[in-house]
Amino acid sequence: MKVGLFIPCYIDQFYPQVGIATLELLEKLGCQVVYPTGQTCCGQPMANSGCERDAVAAYHHFVQLFHAFDHVVTPSGSCAYHVRNHYDIVEQTEEVKKIRDNVLDLSEFLLDILKVESLDSRFPYKVGLHQSCHGLRGLRLGQGSERALEKSSKLDTLLRMVDGIELVEPSRPDECCGFGGTFAINEPAISVKMGKDRIADHENKGVEVVTAGDMSCLMHLEGIIRRQKKKIKVKHIAEILNGTQP
């Protein structure tokens, strides 16, 4: 199966290992993965700051690069959510409509399209899953604790396929980490406080590695962890599913 790989800008620049893990994992699962060169960003940073007009050029660029693929896979629920939900301000050409239908978060692609039932990876650590908000409540990759529906989580399902992993649920299963894009610098005090609280929740449960579907949440948490010289680690879910050790 031929898939287009979309690597979000901050992963490209700061966390290439997440992109590599995603690519390797997809290839291991038999996909023919194409990474169109010249990728930049989905446009979310501008749009979430109220400047979606300034993001339109990035939207067009994204559509142009990816519209030919039947599936565009990205290790980011947040970016996938943005393309699907907020590319509504540009003309809805066939290409735009197609892209908005076909951008998938990695977990959706693995479970809904590839219908993966097992994985060849081992990660013998106590892992806490951070449910990134845009994936959880935007893409509905699981049921948030707010809704009176049966509990489920695509990320949790995938992590359970990993050998040796011990999954631990924090006491607040899906509270926001406080990143929020430019919120992290507009409201640094609350942003950091929220992050500290998330980390403490995982630490109290004995978690060794916090994982998530969005590296942006983990970038924020890791920034606090490193500043406070804590032992707990972060790993994107693609790395764990691919068997990357901490």
Partner: protein
């Protein structure tokens, strides 16, 4: 627009108090989860409520006229107020007519919104809020910090101190039962002396012309039953078409607000008592304008349960006063820009857009989506700080041109690797105050991929 951020930072400076505030509200959110998840049809109820409200908002003019006609038929005097000023004038006029100098009020966010208390007090009326939380903050001369639990920001010791000063309770006493009893005795005198009683309105039924008020303390009934004149103040959006719709909303309201299956009192007022007078004041105060904004009209579905506040990770860590408006939290942040876009331009940004508010909302208001939409309008209307506006323009340019993006990415990583720490971590770096920047890798994913393709 940085006002919320500043107030939040002040609030957080006392971290243990922030934790206490966060936990208190999270406790309410957890109670709400338990109560709502224990009935099988919760999600259907939300959908139904949302649809009833859609119907109401689409036919508001007709329902309001029907409500007025039925209320008048019941012997109620109905008044219409275009704005806060007119509302206050009408209420004062009624009190004047009856020479009522002592007024008791049960909770009403609308009268808070209209600043009725100040208006009446200036004209020599004694106004006593009778909801315990409201009375506490009234004695403390503070605005409410929450719409359901107005004094949630105060600890019982602080209430004890306040009561000692104002109600002469024992010094150092903080037992909630003792303090509540003191408030009851104090309020009893006020109830008995009141010349008029005001209540808010949770629901107004078009079919019957009656209004419904939900309280836990029975203070609305106490006021209304004892005073010769009763006044009910409502926003135009409080309408429900029929009495049969009420059950959907009372079930949702109490569970969402406090995790109770129903409020202790659900009071139905249809007509004046023998020898008494009943007035209803119907207020617009910007609601019609909001109804006319397609992307934001849904905000008028709000039943003021406060669940979005209890769930909001930002509200819980910044307190209601950080929002600077009567209705704080996520719902306040989508209502206020419609009132004064410039003044409240920071509030839609006081959110990570995590979406929890939209999912707890019992009437399914797409709160986080509206926050996103308000942000666009705030930027378009020029209310973003110039540096932010400019940086986004540049980001937009760079992020649509791969060559620029690659060069700037590489330069940034180079700088992060080579520059001495003080160059990177200074007062301009808001990220770096309490967080490390990511450790820059030698090559980007794109660079790694191109190498791999070559080999």
């Amino acid at each position: 627009m940085k006002e919320h951020a500043q107030k939040a930072a002040e609030f957080i400076r006392n971290e243990s108090r922030t934790d206490w505030h966060d936990e208190a509200l999270w406790f309410v959110r957890s109670k709400r989860d338990k109560a709502s998840h224990s009935i099988g049809e919760w999600e259907q109820l939300r959908e139904l409520a949302s649809q009833v409200k859609d119907n109401v908002l689409s036919n508001l003019d007709g329902y309001l006229e029907q409500f007025e006609a039925n209320a008048r038929r019941n012997g109620v005097q109905v008044h219409w107020a275009a704005d806060a000023e007119e509302h206050n004038r009408i209420v004062y006029g009624i009190l004047e007519k009856h020479q009522a100098r002592n007024l008791v009020k049960s909770k009403s966010m609308l009268t808070e919104e209209c600043h009725l208390n100040e208006y009446l007090i200036k004209r020599g009326i004694e106004v006593v809020d009778t909801d315990l939380g409201e009375r506490i903050i009234q004695l403390k001369e503070e605005p409410p910090s929450h719409i359901v639990m107005p004094a949630i920001h105060l600890k019982k010791e602080e209430v004890g101190e306040l009561f000692h000063e104002k109600l002469h309770t024992e010094k150092g006493a903080s037992d909630p039962k003792y303090l509540t009893e003191a408030a009851r005795q104090h309020l009893r005198q006020k109830f008995l002396a009141a010349g008029a009683a005001i209540t808010g309105v949770n629901f107004a039924i078009a079919e019957t012309g009656g209004v419904v008020v939900c309280t836990n303390e029975g203070n609305a009934d106490m006021g209304v039953h004892l005073a010769p004149v009763q006044i009910h103040c409502m926003g135009i959006e409080k309408i429900l078409p029929k009495a049969e719709h009420l059950g959907i909303f009372t079930r949702l309201l109490a569970r969402s607000a406090t995790g109770q299956p129903i409020t202790i009192y659900t009071s139905h007022y249809h007509r004046p008592k023998a020898g008494g007078e009943m007035h209803i004041v119907i207020v617009d105060n910007g609601r019609t304008a909001q109804l006319g904004r397609a992307a934001f009209r849904n905000s008028l579905k709000c039943i003021r349960c406060g669940a979005c506040m209890n769930t909001c990770p930002i509200y819980r860590r910044s307190g209601g006063h950080s929002y600077g408006y009567t209705i704080p939290g996520p719902i306040g942040s989508i209502l206020t820009p419609g009132i004064d876009l410039k003044k409240y331009s920071g509030l839609p940004f006081a959110s990570t857009l995590c979406g929890s508010c939209s999912d707890v909302c019992p009437v399914k208001i797409d709160i986080h989506e509206q926050l996103y939409r308000w942000r666009q309008i705030i930027a378009e209307e020029g209310h973003l700080p110039t540096d932010k506006r400019q940086s986004m323009k540049w980001a937009g340019r760079v992020l649509s041109k791969p060559a620029w993006y690659n060069v700037i990415g590489k330069l940034t990583r180079w700088a992060m690797m080579r520059l001495p720490r003080p160059f990177l971590y200074n007062r301009l770096n808001e990220w770096g105050k309490d967080r490390e920047l990511p450790e820059p890798p030698k090559e980007s994913f794109g660079e790694w991929y191109r190498k791999r393709e070559k080999s």
